[in-house]
Assembly symmetry: C2
């Protein structure tokens, strides 16, 4: 669960990103994280633990370096034994921004869970340090994490596997590559397990900035799908066997684009103060010239 905020501090923003972040052209999300972390004074730590690749995370050193941060460092934590090294904790204690790469979210929690590094991340965020994560790094942020699951638009029993996440927030369950991988069904199923949770489905190259007051704002070119289950009047999730389709009544859905906000306490949508220009999107008629982002 989130660490308590020390006196005189404000909890840092969370910036879960739906994967496939544009690092070259439309860099809205990257620039926002740069700003949150302190701009040219930023000391960024990149946590590559979710990656199965021995040099996973290295690409971000160049990306952040080019932005002109004061420092950027790769946390040398690939296995659980590294996460008990006081040197790793010290690196996090010095950071003004923490960025978690993609990979496998279950690796992230299995390696970091219950170690001093996980505690250091939670405490840094409580002191005001922003934490961003893309793909697996986004999934693992909340207390309740989607560890893995199946695709499809219709919820079925067994299509979503929860796991205990890093606990930087606890009101939401985050899913990523949302539109691209047809994950609405599993997010609805997840929310129906316990409608206390608000589901946030993050499209690729799209982030949900969550501030200290539990206000979420969408940044990027896709959308964030909000699944609010507070008004569910009926579901049969507890009566099903694996693979059976779920019946569910009263799910509320919002599809929010760049600049729209959502109050995670009041469960209310807040429109942008100034309606943003329509996002630059590929035409529905013509395939995009460069669909690989």
């Amino acid at each position: 669960m989130p660490s308590p905020v020390p006196d005189g501090h404000v909890r840092g923003a969370l910036l879960p990103i739906g994967g496939a972040m544009d690092l070259q052209r439309r860099r809205l999300i990257l620039l926002r994280f740069f700003e949150l972390a302190g701009g040219s004074n930023a000391r960024i730590v990149v946590i590559p633990t979710a990656s199965e690749l021995p040099d996973g995370g290295r690409e971000y050193l160049e990306v952040f370096g080019k932005l002109g941060v004061a420092s950027v460092e790769l946390l040398p934590v690939r296995e659980r034994i590294n996460a008990n090294d006081p040197a790793a904790t010290e690196i996090i204690a010095q950071a003004t921004g923490i960025f978690m790469t993609g990979g496998n979210q279950l690796k992230l929690t299995a390696v970091l869970g219950g170690t001093p590094v996980a505690t250091a991340i939670r405490r840094a965020n409580a002191r005001g340090v922003p934490v961003a994560g893309t793909s697996a790094g986004a999934s693992a942020m909340s207390a309740h994490m989607i560890a893995y699951g199946a695709k499809g638009l219709v919820p079925r029993y067994g299509m979503v596997q929860f796991g205990p996440g890093l606990g930087l927030t606890n009101r939401v369950v985050l899913d990523q590559h949302f539109g691209a991988r047809h994950r609405l069904g599993r997010l609805i199923a997840a929310v129906s397990f316990n409608p206390y949770l608000i589901g946030l489905g993050l499209d690729e190259n799209t982030a949900a900035e969550i501030d200290d007051d539990h206000l979420m704002q969408v940044i990027g070119e896709g959308s964030v799908t909000v699944v609010d289950g507070a008004g569910i009047t009926y579901s049969n999730i507890h009566q099903l066997k694996v693979g059976q389709k779920e019946a569910i009544v009263g799910v509320k859905l919002h599809v929010l684009t760049h600049g729209w906000s959502y109050d995670l306490i009041k469960r209310e949508v807040i429109p942008p103060v100034v309606m943003p220009a329509l996002p630059v999107a590929p035409s529905l008629e013509q395939p995009a010239a460069d669909p690989e982002i």
Copy 2:
């Protein structure tokens, strides 16, 4: 997550029970809950929501009535729509003890999650009201709940399904009918997802009393198996496919009986001040005369 404790209050105890509680002869657990709830001044609310039976929970009215509590009432919440009724919230607001029956823990969270009743339970506990739960009612207490799973002593991928629980505590993952249903494998698998969690495997007719200081004490005739994963140096949980066996190094296990305690913050066992008399147990040689408890 647990509600904040208001000024001048102390968080109430949690009393998860491993199912098959003895209500007639060896009533250690029942008497302890009676005492925690205020004895003859107790106003008990029985929450039958986990039960699929239309009159589930009624048996406890008689049990608590015979103990001589001031009042005992069945919360009329069987479906989600009942859990939004202000009358139900008011009943919880007046209680000095809350008891959740067995049944299906996923029904408990799917029906109560995100409703005023769930909030009222968390707030009552934060104000000092003890909350007990047996079987499904025990599983659902923590933020991270075992929703269902498979039996067996060896951990395998996919043998444990997490779900978001009621969030009265967040450091533990609780399993019940533990010895009787051979659930060690799934509890180890659960802890390996994120070793932040401490696994507590509750035998039948056995409770783990968890106080405000995160001290857990065993009450009853069986044992509580503590699975501490903080020292895990290796696991391959994130690399497996469903059904494959997990390799895992460095799990610490304690099997604690009546009177033994465990500090959930320090992860340390505390022996009883006075060693209790050996529990009255059936001989290993001879079958017990009355194995149905």
